[in-house]
């Protein structure tokens, strides 16, 4: 039986947005913590630590996000644990975001002029204080624009969680499309919702990037 595409269906899709946002928020928050660790490991003088951070980044930048989701989803079941799609997606995307943010932030940390580090040595600051008070605050300013840019990418990647059965925005669209067979309306609406979330973020990222380029050129 084919259902009408009515207000109930629209509401179903609009309410599913919250799961897209929840998954994005978890992955972004987890990725922020993981990304900081990866970035610090990557620039560490310890070769093993730097090397493993490098391998971690290469793996996540060199494999499809969909495969990363599948490996976590099916990998956990190996331990005989039944895993909810949200849990699997949250773990996979947290790792994914850690790798990407780690690489982005490594670049930002290394972009802080080395004179700053040398000055803090001269002042006798130790590693922790140097990072916390001198290097990271300056790196953070450079990092805002690319980080917001990555957030847009991450929100789009959460749509792949629909494939392992997590009912977020894209999966809700598929469910409604299967019932109503109005692909134009359904996926048009779904695309519109993603656009309404991502476009403002893209604009903010681009504006900050331009402002930073102007400051840097001065």
């Amino acid at each position: 039986m084919i259902r009408e595409f009515g207000t109930g269906e629209i509401t179903f899709i609009l309410l599913a947005v919250r799961w897209t946002l929840v998954l994005s928020a978890i992955a972004f928050a987890g990725g922020a913590v993981g990304g900081l660790l990866v970035a610090m490991a990557r620039i560490s003088p310890n070769r093993w630590l730097a090397g493993s951070a490098m391998v971690f980044i290469r793996f996540f930048q060199g494999t499809p996000p969909l495969m990363q989701l599948f490996l976590v989803f099916f990998g956990i079941t190996i331990f005989g644990i039944d895993v909810a799609p949200l849990t699997a997606a949250a773990i996979a995307l947290t790792l994914h975001a850690s790798a990407f943010l780690g690489e982005i932030w490594r670049g930002c940390i290394q972009a802080v002029p080395s004179g700053q580090t040398e000055a803090s040595w001269a002042l006798g600051l130790r590693y922790g204080m140097r990072m916390r008070h001198i290097v990271l605050p300056q790196a953070a300013r450079i990092a805002v624009a690319p980080t917001v840019g990555f957030l847009v990418q991450l929100i789009k990647v959460t749509s792949l969680a629909s494939i392992i059965g997590f009912v977020e925005l894209t999966r809700a669209g598929q469910i409604i499309n299967n019932a109503t067979y109005e692909p134009f309306l359904v996926f048009g609406l779904v695309a519109l919702v993603y656009f309404a979330i991502c476009w403002p973020l893209s604009l903010v990222a681009r504006r900050m990037e331009r402002r930073f380029a102007r400051i840097a050129a001065r």
Binding site: T63, P64, L66, L71, L160, I163, T170, F184, A191
Partner: protein, 223 residues
């Protein structure tokens, strides 16, 4: 953990995996090649075309870059047939990939062209270079050098995105994995092998692109 890894059913289907990987490569290179040509036209329209065309292209670029690829492919594969346009899964996959990569390529190429100062072509004229020489040595090669890193990382991004076309059962590498999974249920082993195949290919592309970069753009930047 008492799980017996069983890779035998995966390796038994090695020929299928190879042909899946071949489809993935065809989709990636095909979409990139077509996408670049369309993007060159797009950049021309975006910078030199009439105002409405400029807005249209700008809107297209923003819409594609701010929506997930999986939604775009659903829209094309399920949506367009209701307009009477029907595709096989592989054709729909190629169309969706082209539409997607073109939007990114337009932005990359535009940035590359904007980076070339006008004085540079004028300097070429002053040196009595022919128009072809100016285009080749003054505009094209420097612009290519500027956009090359972005274009190659875009290609690898595209290559990894092709795995999503498995959702409309195009027969790429990931879809081949889905087939084997449906018959053997050795899910983790299958997707691990496939992930390694993707990883080897993308690392290979990175190395290849870096070598090309060294050879083709080794001339000094300034003096």
């Amino acid at each position: 953990m008492n799980y017996d890894f069983d890779f035998a059913p995966v390796f038994a289907r090695w020929p299928d995996l190879l042909s899946g990987a071949w489809v993935t490569l065809q989709l990636s290179f095909g979409a990139m090649a077509i996408g670049l040509v369309v993007a060159v036209l797009g950049v021309w329209g975006r910078t030199a075309g009439p105002k409405p065309l400029q807005w249209l292209i700008a809107a297209y670029v923003e819409i594609i870059r701010n929506t997930p690829f999986i939604v775009q492919i659903f829209f094309i594969f399920f949506g367009l047939p209701s307009l009477g346009i029907r595709f096989s899964p592989n054709a729909a996959a190629l169309v969706a990939l082209v539409i997607n990569v073109t939007a990114y390529a337009i932005e990359i190429l535009r940035a590359g062209i904007e980076a070339i100062p006008k004085g540079q072509t004028e300097a070429g004229t002053a040196l009595a270079m022919s128009r072809l020489q100016i285009f080749r040595h003054v505009v094209f090669m420097p612009a290519l050098r500027t956009v090359y890193p972005a274009l190659t990382s875009q290609f690898i991004f595209l290559f990894l995105s092709t795995s999503v076309v498995s959702v409309i059962s195009a027969n790429d590498l990931t879809a081949t994995g889905n087939d084997i999974n449906a018959q053997t249920f050795a899910s983790f082993e299958i997707y691990l092998v496939i992930t390694v195949i993707y990883l080897v290919m993308s690392l290979g592309f990175s190395a290849l692109f870096a070598t090309i970069h060294r050879i083709a753009f080794s001339y000094p930047l300034s003096r």
